[in-house]
Symmetry: C2
Subunit: 527 residues, 2 copies
């Protein structure tokens, strides 16, 4: 096993695709089955870690697997399945799945490999498009848990792997089962009782629509405005009401992995009760909805489903469509044109390839001045002029614009005021490191952040270790430093740790402010 | 007057467009009227100096102008002319020229401002495309002297300037006219007597076709091969023979500026004696010809004319078309498809915008693995695996892949052997600095390089200075260092000083070698 050379080309033979779980994967701790996929990003040119829920991480752990590394390039052009069994792994032909969407791929593979966990790419990954993500099935077999950011689906596609199948349910053997069981109960109680859990269960992430709109930070018409009274049409309240009223296949409080107490997910059904998409989440509502001047949850759900099926990140794709709308290639607010454009991706047309190449490239080709990207990656649904801590995370994270790298939006601070935002982002970036390392979903933060010793106790009990909190802290600090070091060698330096002039020089209407966190403050994140 | 912030966005208000002449501009020294246009490049994201012949540099000098700097952005959307008169300058409306090709623009402006020098952009610059260059008229009023590289036409377009007109012929007033006259005679004699001058006069730069083909370094089918017996169809010999045989408007030994003794230019006419393009040069023959598997000078001349008219760099456009052909979007060897594709640029279609965005972006969007670019800019017509000193220049120059930044191809060395290539490139990069600073054409190197004291004497005589050769050396070293410092702050670091894996890992058929100059040797250029 080598290491990925930071200078390598993301789609070349020196890049690796690394599929890993967290330190607590496989346990009965709620939400501990986050899957972490990593490699050098074709979108940012830097290091990328993109994580998601679903079954794979837990199944890997229960089969004794911490990590799968895919190296090199195939000399053959044919697609393969990577079949991982408890004590062996092999490549199987998969040319029959070539060009198939993520939903059909998962349906076929669930039939062919029952009781298995499946992680796969759609046509966009096969086409090596920089917005391509990697999808993992949830507990219902729906392949909608996306490691969406950074284009890692293209890396998997470049390696000619259509899907990874983890066969066998397995079991874990904790070093100290009793201690683990006890800690697990305590952690789960804490997660269950957290007020944030209740909100996630009722409204999902869509609860943020009204919150961020109130802050003037909702992306509207390619991040040109941040607030609109139509936000109520796409709010968490409305989402929940629709699901309940329509019945049928629709579900609130849906969980993506067995044993999750938070259940932030949902199944969003149409007026006949047939599933439109699952889940429908805040980032997607922001980027494929308000950002495109589309204010109807059914339309947004349909765009979401199209993106999922072709295998592209909804954030990147929504931002790319926003840029194309600003350029006048597609009219703002035109659902049909947006849907047609997404459908071009799998047809491998010029338009499809451009959208699938992400917002930065679309902006460059179309000559759009206001492009919401940092380090080549599209911003999620928080305008950094209104939610300034997010802006600090976008600017300073090794991941490029990525809310999960250091989310500040739920903090009780004045988000419009630049003071203290660098410190807040820094704190959150470190906290994220802890949760990502354990494999716990970030949404357990509300229940667990104040009880880090419990996490450590669980890690020690599972692995038979005897580490202290200082070790966990240092682990995360080192991880952030390693990511920055990788990027430095990959050519991403201080000059890339900033937001575009569209955000530092163009005031956000309504709150009349730019992103005004100083370069010195941004640098303080690295101290 | 400020300075361009290295971190600025190339098409934003903080970039500057700098139009300058050299230290000997305006004198009667042969070939001393090179125009140097600079700014931050939208193609490379780094500093860019792109120079060309024609009238403007000389006319600026004779009107007492060393430099024109265009700062900021216009608050109006309308196009302007920048009219520079001996003692004043103003902006005039130019909306009537919007969308016009370079040839028609120059024709109209030559009529409106007789006896003036004109530098202008075509539709590609107005459309802010990264492959857009800036054209300057030659002594016949033909706007074919391109500051082509780096997309500076887009910077001019972003500043809403369609053309710069230098009115009035003016005159220079040397500090020591007698000394200047004497030195001028000596330099001109030396240029006139140089063997290289005779070759340039007879065959133009096209003499390189056979030379580089013999070295296996001609770009063929997107740099996948380096040698082909059909090279004779597009050679300097054949070019010259055709021009002479066809007669009419055709000319060999054509000069782009008054008083040039080298006359490397030509007017290439069709079978009826009507001009197809002027000049037809080696880089264009390589990139729009052999690189596209097009082996007919008439076809290449027609593609050249189309590129000139829309205002794009023929190197960047040829490389982009090669990438599109490798992707299968256009068939290799298909002249009509290539011509149609170039015509899409002024139509502002997706295809046109993609070609006009350059080879790197085209390759990214189309998922092409072998893309001949360095720091975002397309390679000129020397495969770096066969002409390794050029490869060192591509890798280490602040300009990205640019033969004029340190041309090694004419040196008497084993171009296939990596030994000594870094030292050769370093020497040439410095030499280029001297010639660019004086404003002398690089093609005077054969006559003047051994007589640098004469150049210095001329500079001192013209300006009333008393500098020594050490000053000139240090000036050029400092210039190279300043360029690297700018790039470092712009985010172009050591990790960008390399060639793509397509050249370091893929052997060139025929000579079975990669670009194998080591990273340590590449770094030695900076020592």
């Amino acid at each position: 096993m080598g290491t990925t050379a930071p200078s390598c080309e993301p789609l070349g033979r020196h890049n690796m695709l690394i599929i890993a779980n967290g330190l607590l994967a496989g346990t009965a701790i709620s939400s501990s089955g986050r899957l972490s996929i990593g490699g050098k990003s074709p979108l940012t040119g830097g290091i990328k870690e993109s994580n998601a829920g679903g079954l794979t991480a837990t199944r890997m752990a229960r089969n004794g697997l911490r990590c799968i590394i895919i190296e090199g390039l195939s000399s053959e052009k044919s697609l393969k399945l990577l079949l991982v069994e408890p004590s062996t792994a092999c490549l199987l032909p998969a040319d029959d799945l070539a060009g198939l969407g993520v939903y059909e791929t998962a349906r076929i593979l669930c039939g062919r490999f029952p009781q298995s966990a499946i992680t796969c790419i759609g046509p966009s990954g096969e086409l090596h498009l920089s917005a391509a993500g990697i999808a993992t099935i949830d507990k219902d077999g729906t392949p909608s848990r996306f490691s969406g950011r950074g284009g890692l689906g293209a890396v998997m596609g470049a390696k000619n792997i259509k899907a990874i199948i983890i066969k066998g349910k397995g079991t874990i053997t904790p070093a100290d089962p009793q201690a683990l069981a006890k800690t697990t109960r305590a952690i789960n109680r804490s997660i269950n009782d957290a007020p944030t859990t209740k909100s996630y269960k009722n409204f999902g992430t869509a609860a943020m629509v009204e919150v961020i709109n109130e802050l003037n930070g909702l992306p509207i018409r390619n991040f040109s405005r941040g607030k609109d009274e139509r936000a109520s049409y796409i709010s968490g309240d409305n989402l929940r009401d629709s699901i309940i009223k329509r019945g049928g296949a629709g579900r609130t409080a849906h969980s993506c992995m067995p044993g999750c107490l938070i259940s932030c997910s949902n199944i969003y059904a149409d007026q006949n009760g047939s599933t439109l998409v699952s889940p429908l989440e805040y980032e997607t509502i922001g980027l494929l909805g308000s950002n495109l001047d589309i204010w109807n949850l059914d339309d947004i759900a349909r765009l979401n489903h199209l993106c999922n099926d072709v295998g592209v990140d909804t954030i990147e794709t929504g931002a790319a469509l926003g840029v194309m709308m600003e350029a006048g290639f597609i009219p703002f607010g035109d659902f049909n044109a947006a849907a047609d454009a997404i459908e071009e991706i799998s047809k491998n047309t010029l338009l499809g390839r451009l959208i699938g190449s992400g917002a930065q490239t679309a902006g460059k080709v179309l000559g759009v001045k206001n492009v919401p990207t940092v380090k080549g990656q599209a911003m999620p649904a928080y305008d950094p002029r209104a939610v300034k801590g997010m802006g600090v995370t976008y600017a300073t994270s090794a991941m490029g614009a990525d809310h999960t790298a250091g989310p500040s939006a739920r903090a009780q601070v004045d988000h419009h005021n630049s003071a203290g935002q660098a410190a807040l982002s820094k704190k959150m970036q470190k906290l994220v490191g802890i949760f990502d390392s354990t494999g716990l979903c970030l949404f357990t933060v509300g229940g667990v952040a104040a009880h880090k010793q419990l996490l450590l106790d669980a890690i020690n009990a599972l692995h038979g270790w005897n580490y202290d909190l200082d070790w966990l802290d240092k682990l995360c600090e080192q991880m952030l430093q390693d990511e920055r070091d990788f990027n430095e060698l990959a050519g991403i330096t201080n000059s890339h740790h900033r937001l575009p002039e569209a955000f530092t020089e163009r005031k956000l209407p309504g709150i009349d402010t730019t992103f005004d966190v100083s370069e010195a403050e941004l640098r303080s994140v690295f101290e």
